[in-house]
Each structure stands twice: as C-alpha cells, then as structure tokens.
Symmetry: C2
Subunit: 221 residues, 2 copies
C-alpha cells in the first residue's frame, strides 16, 4: 500500500472518530466493524490505525483493542526541547516566547472568557493560594492557571501551545530557586480580576509584570 | 525495568548523542558499543533507545541499526492540529497566533540577524519573486522566508514553532484563493529591508501589515 493510500484512509478514520464523537481514552470498534463502517478493506483499516498511532492519536493495546489516546495528537515534548543543547538558553528563550505570547493571551482571555471560565480560573487561583499557605509545591497548579487562561481565549492553538511552553520552562530550569510566594499570589489575583472585569489592557499589563518579574529573578540566579 | 530507570538511561543516551556531536540522520554505534560507552547493560540501552524512538529522536531500522531522525524530537503535526474539529476556525486561530508572534519575531530578527542570515533571507526573498515571475507555486519558499526570519531571532523555541504554525495554516486552509503576488513581493521586501537595516520597529510593522492583509483576504472567502 503506498503512503498516499494509507494517509487517505487515516484521514477518513479521523473523520469517522470525530463524527462519532469518540472521547479521549475511548475504545474504537474492532477492525472488522471499522472496515464495514468506512467501506474499505481490513488491510486499509490496519494501515490507517498505524498512521494515527504514529501521530499519537490512537494507541494499539495488544489483545485489548485500539483506543483514542488521552491527548489525541499531542506528544511528550512536541517541540523537541529535550534535544536542544544549551538548556539555560532554552529557558531564557522560552521565557521570551511567554513574554510575547502570554500578555496577548491575558487580553484575549479578558475579552472572551465565559462565566464558567471565570469560575474555574478563580478556583485555580484559590488553589495556588491555599497550597502556598500550606507550604506545598504549587508549580503544577500554577501551570494549570496559565493553561486555563489560554483556554479562555477560545483560540484552539493557544490552548495546546501554552502547556507545552510552560512545561518546558519548568522541565529545563535547573535552578528553580525558592518560589516567590507573595508576588505569585498578588499578580495572579491582578490577572484574574482584570479577566473577571473584562479589562483586556489591564490583564495584558498584569501578565507582562508577572512574567518580567520572574525573568528578572531567573537572570539573577 | 521501571519507567524512571528507562527515562534516566534515555537522558544519558541523549547527553552522549549531544557530546559526540552526532548530526541529523547519522547512525548510532551498535547496542554493544553503546552499552560499553554508557557503562550500562544492553537491556538498559535497548530501553533507552525505545524511549528516544517514541520521542522521534531516534529511528530503529530493522537490520540496519539505530539512527538519529532528520528532525530530532520533532513530529509531524506536533500540536495536534489534524485532530481539531473546526478546521476553518483553526486557520483563523493560527493566523491570530501569527499576528501575535510574527511581528515580534520580525523585530527580534532586525535586532539579532547576522550578515549571513541577511544573505540567506535575501536569497529566499529573491527566490519567491522569481517563482512569482515564472508563475510557479511559491508557498513553500514563502514558508521558508518566515522560518528563516524566526531563525534570525536566535530564539531556539521560535525556530521550531514557526514552521509548525505556518505549515498548519497552509495544510488546513481549504480555500487557498489565488495568491496575491504584488502584495507578497512588496511586503516581503519591506520586511527584508527593515531587518537588513536593523530597524526593529519598521520590521515589526511591516510584518503586521503583511499578516493583516492576508487575514482580511481569508475572511472575505
């Protein structure tokens, strides 16, 4: 089977998955059923499944069947950070990207967030604060706060991109110095308030301040 | 072998690959040699290779050996665009991301481009113009121009991110209308001139105009 044929079958299978509304982690019908539903041979189905597995959309579990992955189409370290040589420069560059992208995200979030978004964002903000009070590591919740902001923009690309960038900063900053509690609480709250009140410019500036503060801190290490 | 052990071995193998300065597509020493060089068992080497293969850093060719991939760590469609349902919205969102990121890239390019960068950028600009004169499809060279600008920033992340975004726009815009020749030639030249002269603000604005023009055109379709 040539590459184009397998590719086309994969595209059809993808459309089928979307139309059926299969969710993350869900099991696909077996090869025989898929062959019937798509109106193609079982060999073609098998090839299509392989193509989508190589793209991290499907996972083949021997003996159990074929499943949609938990984050279809997303792979660990999708932008190849772990292969970059100068990891300190990588962190600086990631922060530069954040400084370009995240203020714009905060502004879009203020413009586009729904009531439900704001509730979720508020909860995340409060969780970070509670963890700080309890002296716990809040970095995961901190990332979730930034990811939720990206989600509030309603921009499909930002939603996938920001977790990758934030995760990268954390994974590769060798010296994560003592977390700056007061500053995190204050600036997260300022961003949240601006988004809540639909003030795009305030949100943008609050995010710029938040990031610049962290960049300065990293430079001093 | 637990996940942590395999992960650690993969990390060591990665360091080895970097230190040896292996280049894209190059063959790795065999399992036995790697085992000696890394000072770990062959099972561990095998696991480490599998981990890096799953990240698209290594490719195992049966009977031929293990090779560094052509774009280590990068996968096709790394941000999962093909799994997004509303592909027209995806294109709009990709253009929104470009409008946030690429003017800043143009500014950084004007600030950081070397003489050699400018020569390469000039060549790409001329190639696009020649293809236009010859009535050929210049979209690939157009993407190369934007990718080269990202390269001029010296930001490691931008260099990997921009090709993904630009490729996405092209792959998912169902109606690529007639290419706008005159506008492409003019605005590319304006961006190039600003970068050449080290004028960051001019470069930023020229890029904004270039993208806004294209966004308007897409909206009218």
């Amino acid at each position: 089977m040539n590459k184009t044929l397998a590719e086309r079958a994969a595209q059809e299978l993808l459309i089928y998955i979307r139309e059926e509304g299969l969710v993350e982690g869900e099991k696909l019908p077996n090869e025989y059923e898929l062959s019937e539903k798509l109106g193609v041979g079982r060999n073609t189905v098998r090839e299509a499944v392989r193509v989508l597995a190589s793209r991290n959309i499907l996972r083949i579990k021997q003996g159990a069947g074929t499943f949609l992955t938990d984050k279809p189409g997303m792979v660990e370290d999708p932008l190849g950070f772990s292969f970059m040589e100068d990891q300190r420069k990588l962190v600086t560059d990631l922060m530069q990207v954040r400084l370009i992208v995240e203020p714009a995200i905060a502004a879009l979030a203020a413009q586009n967030a729904t009531e439900k978004d704001i509730q979720q964002l508020t909860l995340l903000c409060e969780e970070v604060e509670r963890m700080i009070e309890e002296g716990k590591d809040f970095s995961e919740k901190d990332r979730a706060f930034h990811a939720k902001l990206a989600d509030c923009t309603k921009n499909l690309v930002m939603k996938n991109l920001i977790p990758v960038i934030c995760q990268g900063v954390e994974a590769f900053s060798s010296n994560v110095s003592e977390q700056e509690y007061r500053q995190t609480v204050e600036t997260h709250r300022n961003i949240l308030m601006a988004v809540k009140n639909g003030k795009a410019v305030d949100a943008e500036q609050a995010m710029s301040y938040h990031l610049l503060y962290n960049i300065q801190r990293y430079k001093k290490e």
